[in-house]
Amino acid sequence: MLYIDAGTSFSKIMTTNGEMLDKIAPIKINEGKYFYIIPSQNLSELGVLFDAGTGHMSKDYLKNGAKLENEILALAYGIKKIQSKQENLTVLDIGSRDTKWVRFENGKYKELDWNTACASATGATIEMICRFYNIDVKILPPNDEKYPVTCGVFGMEKIMDEIAKTKNVNSAVAKYIHGIAFNAWNFAQKPSKIFLSGGFCENNCFVKSLEKYCAVEKLGRFVLVEGLFS
């Protein structure tokens, strides 16, 4: 069986029962499941259709009758599967264009939210900034200071101002990322621990910034796709 979480920038794919894709290499293999990541714009090159999917880009790649799952439900089902023993938890998923979280208390759904109006300060923005300034977020040191990035556009202006003033690109971008981490923690209702899902798990600067506010457990990029698999 083939499952896909097709985000705006990247698609996360999981195959089960030992099934494999032949055009790309898996990044992880676990108990007969193969995990792949591919830029969503290259999905058509795979030439495969999926048994279930979630995410903005998946609908064109599903088999007839395949289930297109709501992303926040996929996140909720995924975390329940991965952290089945955790009665109380908040899972936060930051994608390239939006942020969503679900909270469970005593094993039951309690609250959720999904920033739908303005996502100008999430994954895609960070990726563009880092590509532009040639910054590797895996080694970028976190900064104790942060920019207010309630509006991502105003936050970008702060980066430009600081670079014009100090020429210190790393510091400016780290403050921006810290601002996003602070926002994400507030958005998720300030939990004492966050189970983090999505590409930001690989952004050390973000994770370290978020850890200034709460404990962080990184779950990687396949939580939603796990939520498609019963």
């Binding site: 903005h56 709501n70 909720a76 939006d98 999904w114 739908t116």
Partner: protein, 242 residues
Amino acid sequence: MSRRKIGFWGVPKNKIITEYQQKYPESDFLDLCMFYGAKKTTILPDTTCKIISNIMDNAIYFKNDLDCIIASVGKEKCDSGRFVAKILKDMGYNIIFSQNETYNGNEEIKTPICTSNLPLAEKITRITANIIKKDETIYEYCEPKMGFWGVPPNDFGFLELFPNETHVFGWTRCVEAKRPADDELEIYVQENLPTVFFAQTFCNKMQLAKYLAKKYGGLFIDVDDLATNSTKAKIQAYMELG
């Protein structure tokens, strides 16, 4: 040739509605809060809620068809409604100012449409139509599975997500109860009923909606123009998980 129109917004006083019905018997009432395809004007700031933007855009678009505009400018509407009435008056429109802030506090609150099993969009359509033309239909009460709190939205599309067994709360309920400025009734919801708290983006009612959603374990949503797929997905997820 299109018929002449009496524009209005909010919930004007019955007495004023009747007076202008008699004054312009050939004219139809037109709720200026709704979107009819009018071109967007740039008179108001972009951070104006879609309902108030609709009022301004419709007033410009239908200018030559309007005999007058009956404007709700009291507590039953909002500051923006009052200001836009002033602006339109200054622009030369025939504005009739109406304040509908008082009601008989001893009267029984009747909201049969809010608690009926009609589709949610139909409930809200009938409640707003009832402002001008009294609805004599007898509605049966249905046990609620969901709640919808808020104002009639600009986008009725996302209302299709709700089951027919959705009870209506908030300002829309106040409108049906003929108590549009009753903020005690406005904040009433049924406890333990999964409820979506809706406000138009940039409307001050966002404050109430967010607070009440937190208080009652509901879902807060704000929608500017049309509900995005993410907003719809959020509602669906809340319905399934909640």
